[in-house]
Symmetry: C2
Subunit: 519 residues, 2 copies
């Protein structure tokens, strides 16, 4: 099987394959242009006759995988709520290796440096290829063209969409859970490895043929909240440890101390305020990076000063958001993942700290999703081009080092803002063309740098609102020129012709391809 | 189209049709014997491109129904959380009549006397037939052979199963909601018509082609808890009133004052205690009838006396269960519907008062369900026969006057007990044969009457445990003889040969048929 075939130019001018790992693909057609015509994936109908007493415990993970019918060529999914503290995914493939199973497709919701362990199985044929983010060592491995199959990167919402639509059929989902009962109900709220939520495994539980829950904290029914419904679960395995707590969540998230980043954060908040984007009842989503946290704090200051409330803030939650919630400045945190211990405490204690999932928040093939309801979305990027197209997966040297996460999905918020430094390590961030096009410029509204703010010309409303602002509103070309005046014009990176991975858009079409780095 | 065709004798000896309303059916094969081989119903894939700003409000229910494509022969579903206070279902068919739409199939999760209004539409061809419980006037209408199509009765779990399996394809689900937002998130917790839960509409929301939420309390996003996910909803309609509060929940549920019923309740509790069914960490389900409430109270007394806790109690919740929860004698209420205002308050305030659904609790075509995890289940019945088969849908005169509710589903609990009077209006309740066989005797463990307790001979463990009990343990034949000695042997009811409705078992097979009453 060829890794890919039949390249065409898609709607954003990128050459992308229309056959990937033997399966036909649709090239990106433009935002909102591809309308699916099929039906959702239909898993087999089960029967309680086969689950008579509701106790699904089996002795160990190996037995569960054997009972689930593990065999060559299957797709095995795992989630990344344990981040770099995951133990279970590696064990799954250790067992597959031991059983001599070959050519598996691994569908993690994201991979982390701890999964470097799996490179040996990519090399020896146990794993054929990975569909999911390739962070760190796995990204390097893929970038260097060493994976037999083509990598497929999807956003969190795109992963839900792909599983729901049957684009990826999951044979066995392995769901590591901080707490579960023998019926298979599971949650991330309690236990030594509490991670807050298990939403990244939701689609897997709903649509996989066989579902295995692995836990180190088996409690009497009911394990509530049942973030994963036992009604979808085939087997439950009790193990000594599913994850390494200190690598799952940080003890505390920290606001940036860099003066440049603080300046960017302050400018972003001022921009939002002057543009009228902040109002009594507004909503926002900021990540857990140092700059984003700082912007959230500035938003909080504005709310406090005016006696306003945000109707909701979208998580990744952290102690700063939790504090705003507890002080009454936010009605709801709608959380997709928790980043620190305060987030987990809050989700456990506070009914207005609400768990969401890629289904509610990000699935583009639903009847709407929450992402489009958010007023202000604050995001990062490795590169932006003069047409506001942005990159989050590769560095300017071409290496595939990051996942998409919810990034593409959140672009559908009412105003999306990229607060980014004008350059990193003397490499300008604003380019003529991004190395990898992950988000189309028509969805990116504002770029805020320490030396100026560029508004997408499509947002004439924002340009009008800001025309008398004292903030340094510039064109994106001006910002680019400033960076190049300081750092020099960057040399274009030379990449191989060979494609090593594709980037899916939120609707399952291919928006770009990632090329092999030259050795 | 013939209403039904091709009768065969099923595994419990009942003659049932294998074609109903033109669709092929499987006759009941025995408990756990029919193993489905198909796949779940696959609804069309939607796209956010068609729900861009997430606001799904349309002007009125008529517009929503037209936009949803209402046309002849469609299946329209509604839920019964508003019980006899429902306003919306009648309006749906008023609109259908106005639009001249014909031959609809109405799939309520239950019907109530307030739906007598719809008899005119059964007569004039707007509605072809009803699949759902036929309480009161509709039951009489059907029993007299006046409905053009055949009635199909399903349990709560059977309804979920039928929709999930595609046995019934819902074209348009109309979900009346006490609270909703314009995205379509909806709950029964808040608002003037608060009914506690909306779980009976869950399958409809997940599997219907088009979903309409109708509310009289439209609040800003997010309407949380989202018992109905807006991600499944196409249209939202704001109306003045969706239900009549005082007919939705009672101000307060009341324990029986009848000395006979109290005696039965006390005997039931004593039986459970002596048989060792009550222990620290046990679980139970009792309904909201006067006798059942009283049994729950006796259980509570035992817990208090011994300093034990129930791990969970299954609702229908009521003030007595809520009190036990609040006093710490129950860890969780796992609630399917709330019966009084205290239940609603509790579900709103108490995170350990948990909402469940027919999916979690009753769907037999899942990987297990909660019903099988309950230690003691207390249920009613209109008739029981000497083989412990029981009836809940017809009276001994043959009239179809009750729905199945969760009755069939809960029979899978570890011990199911029917506390029933030995006779009603001088009609013995224990018969040679039940008029309609709704629950197979192999799943019914104990019958408790005011004059004695009969244990199913299959439960040798219980017979052994009770052999030295001072409780009046008798055979079911002895109980029957006692009733007949008092009331005389009942005349067998003469029914017409014509079938007017079928009773589905939890797996979608047909367990019995209901015959027309002779006029």
């Amino acid at each position: 099987m060829k890794k890919y075939d039949k390249l065409v130019k898609n709607a954003v001018g990128r050459m992308v394959p229309t056959i990937v790992n033997g399966e036909e693909q649709v090239p990106f057609m433009g935002v909102g242009k591809y309308i699916p015509k099929g039906r959702k994936h239909a898993p087999p109908v089960a029967s309680c006759a086969n689950f008579a007493d509701g106790n699904k415990e089996v002795a160990n993970l190996k037995e569960a995988l054997i009972k689930a019918g593990l065999k060559d060529g299957m797709t095995i999914s795992t989630h990344h709520h344990f981040r770099n503290g995951d133990i279970v995914a590696n064990q799954v493939f250790d067992i597959a290796k031991e059983l001599g199973v070959k050519d598996l497709r691994w569908l993690p919701s994201a991979s982390f440096p701890c999964h470097e362990h799996l490179i040996q199985y990519l090399e020896d044929g146990t794993i054929h290829h990975i569909e999911g983010s390739m962070n760190g060592p796995l990204g390097k491995f893929v970038s260097e063209g060493k994976m037999r199959g083509l990598g497929v990167l999807r956003s969190h919402g795109g992963r839900y969409q792909a599983i729901q639509d049957g684009e990826v059929k999951v044979d066995i989902a392995v769901i590591a859970a901080p707490t579960a009962d023998s019926f298979g109900n599971a949650n991330g709220v309690y236990g030594d490895t509490a991670c807050g939520l298990l939403g990244f495994a939701l689609a897997d539980s709903q649509y996989a043929d066989k579902v295995i829950v692995v836990t180190d904290n088996l409690i009497p029914f009911p394990a509530y909240p049942w973030q994963i419904h036992g009604n979808y679960v085939d087997f439950v395995v009790k193990v000594d440890q599913v994850g390494i707590p200190e690598k799952i969540v940080s003890g505390t998230t920290k606001i940036t101390k860099s003066p440049d980043r603080l300046l960017i954060a302050e400018m972003t908040a001022r921009f939002c305020d002057e543009a009228g984007l902040i109002y009594d009842g507004f909503s926002f989503q900021a990540g857990a990076g140092g700059t984003a946290l700082s912007i959230g704090n500035y938003f909080g200051d504005i709310l406090k000063e005016r006696g306003w409330k945000a109707r909701f803030a979208r998580g990744g939650s952290n102690k700063y958001l939790v504090q705003l919630l507890e002080e009454g400045y936010i009605d709801y945190i709608l959380d997709g993942q928790t980043f620190d211990l305060e987030g987990i405490r809050s989700i456990r204690e506070n009914p207005t700290h609400v768990t969401t999932s890629p289904f509610t928040s990000y699935n583009y093939h639903g009847k709407g999703n929450f992402a489009s309801l958010v007023d202000i979305v604050v995001l990062g990027a490795t590169e932006v081009d003069v047409n506001f197209n942005a990159n989050v997966v590769t560095h300017s040297d071409g290496y595939l080092l990051h996942g998409i996460g919810g990034w593409q999905n959140t672009l559908f918020g009412k105003t999306s803002i990229l607060p980014i430094p004008l350059f990193r390590d003397r490499m300008p961030v604003i380019r003529d063309e991004v190395t990898t096009l992950v988000g189309p410029g028509e969805l990116i509204d504002v770029v805020v740098t320490e030396r100026g703010i560029a508004i997408n010309p499509k947002r004439t409303d924002l340009i009008e609102k800001m025309k008398n602002s004292k903030l340094p509103i510039k064109t994106i070309e001006e910002l680019k020129a400033e960076a190049e005046a300081i750092c020099g014009k960057p040399e274009p990176v030379e990449l191989d012709d060979e494609i090593v991975a594709v980037i899916k858009w939120v609707d399952g079409t291919i928006i770009d391809a990632v090329r092999k780095v030259k050795s």
